[in-house]
Amino acid sequence: MSSLSVNHLLGIKYLQPSDIDLIFETADQFKEVINRPIKKVPSLRDITIANLFFENSTRTKLSFELAEKRLSADVINFSASQSSVKKGETLIDTVNNILSMKVDMVVMRHPNPGAGIFLSKHIDASIVNAGDGAHEHPTQALLDSYSIRERLGSVKGKNVVIVGDILHSRVALSNIFALQLQGANVMVCGPKTLLPKYIADLGVKVETNLKKALEWCDVANMLRVQNERMDISYFPSTREYAQQFGLTKDIMDSLSKEIVVMHPGPINRGVEITSEVADSDQSIILNQVENGVAVRMAVIYLLASKIKP
């Protein structure tokens, strides 16, 4: 069996297509494990993992923690709001302090893009990026592709549109890289103010009309409007955004084919997607959450297998 070409998961940008295949094949086995009466395997019983969250997170943190515990790793949690970071400690100092407690792997979310890459140059532990600013969120992109593969059989050749706040979204960037690596066609759709200026240079189609984008696609990944990252107004009002870019049952019914609907969460119901659509049979939002644990178990397992005892 091959192994991952990387020692850290810092972004999809650094992966090969074969890495993604390997992660998905391993995730298939873990998905079976987490549906057993006893959902735990002892593989990582001698590995300690630190979850460092310098930014708020609910589902990603829970998902990582569950994945680690299902693999029997020892887990320590850290969130910046209750730590010495508030007292002025630097990132390297914080992490080195934690690593002196003999930690093998670090799962980190940080508001600054590239924080994981920076850290990987200064410490020995294996690093998993759980989101760094508006840069990448690799495990989310992997679980999104895994969920598409599960629903549609494969990702290759599928048309996927990412709708919404592309400018502030690490999910969008990681998804674009991941989908392209697997041979899917990618389109981004949103108000012009929320589309980065040179996004087309990544080889994606750009569309500002939601209806046209949906007619083109097999899968629509609806992103949340990240109000907390917006320092200025990018659109006149939430109501106007919802009217132009919100996915409603009316639009879904008007399409000539059935499409698959995804959302990385948390959902702003009634803004980017209505409850009717989010809870419909075409939505795989909750499958994404379940697959998130299996995919993260695969990533952690494969990275841990490269750490020598």
């Binding site: 069996m1 192994s3 094949e25 391993t26 298939d28 086995q29 079976e32 494990v33 057993r36 009466p37 006893i38 959902k39 735990k40 395997v41 002892p42 593989s43 990582l44 693999l71 397992y301 494969l302 841990a304 297998s305 490269k306 750490i307 020598k308 005892p309």
Partner: protein
């Protein structure tokens, strides 16, 4: 590299029939017994035995599961190559059942140790037995012995026992290969 034939296809067939009969002696109609083939190579033997029991010995309700032990192995991170997982297919609970592990070659016993832990994820069996086509004597690392054995073999560590199955390798045979 030299190789010696331990069992040819006819002998494999005779051995499988004997093993099937021994299983019936102890488990009657298999109403409380399940066969668990160990991934990857034990599954060929398990499928073959299950088919034989059904078709040649008229066992009507035989439950067969496939168990992958990768995540329960004790050599994770200790080899050069990562451990690659296979599919587990156990669509029943083994609680209070008689479980028979089926594997092609018993060598160090470590796979069976892992399987004993792995099967607990599917319940608490009443009793666990081990069936193996080839038992490599004098090479055990753990106190594990088979309940049913096809053939006992004395082989040194430099030698490999290779089991070929018709459905995968074109012909049934068991070879002793020395590098």
């Amino acid at each position: 590299m030299s190789q010696k034939i331990l069992l040819n296809s006819k002998e494999v067939n005779i051995t499988l029939h004997r093993l099937a009969c021994q299983l019936i002696e102890n488990h009657n109609d298999f109403s409380d017994t399940v066969l668990i083939g160990l991934q990857p190579r034990g599954t060929y033997l398990a499928h073959r035995l299950a088919r034989m029991l059904k078709e040649d010995y008229n066992i009507k309700s035989l439950k067969l599961g496939l168990l992958d032990i990768t995540f329960f192995r004790d050599d994770f991170r200790r080899g050069d190559k990562p451990l690659s997982a296979n599919t587990t297919e156990i669509n029943f609970i083994v609680e209070d059942k008689n479980v028979v592990f089926v594997d092609d070659v018993l060598y160090t016993g470590r796979s069976i140790r892992s399987a004993l832990t792995a099967i607990q994820s599917f319940g608490r069996p009443r009793h666990i037995e081990l069936l193996t086509l080839i038992d490599r004597r004098f090479s055990r690392h753990l106190p594990i012995q088979p309940n049913y054995r096809g053939r006992q073999v004395d082989a040194i560590n430099e030698e490999r026992v290779v089991v070929n199955w018709e459905e995968n390798d074109g012909k049934d045979s068991v070879l002793l290969v020395s590098e």
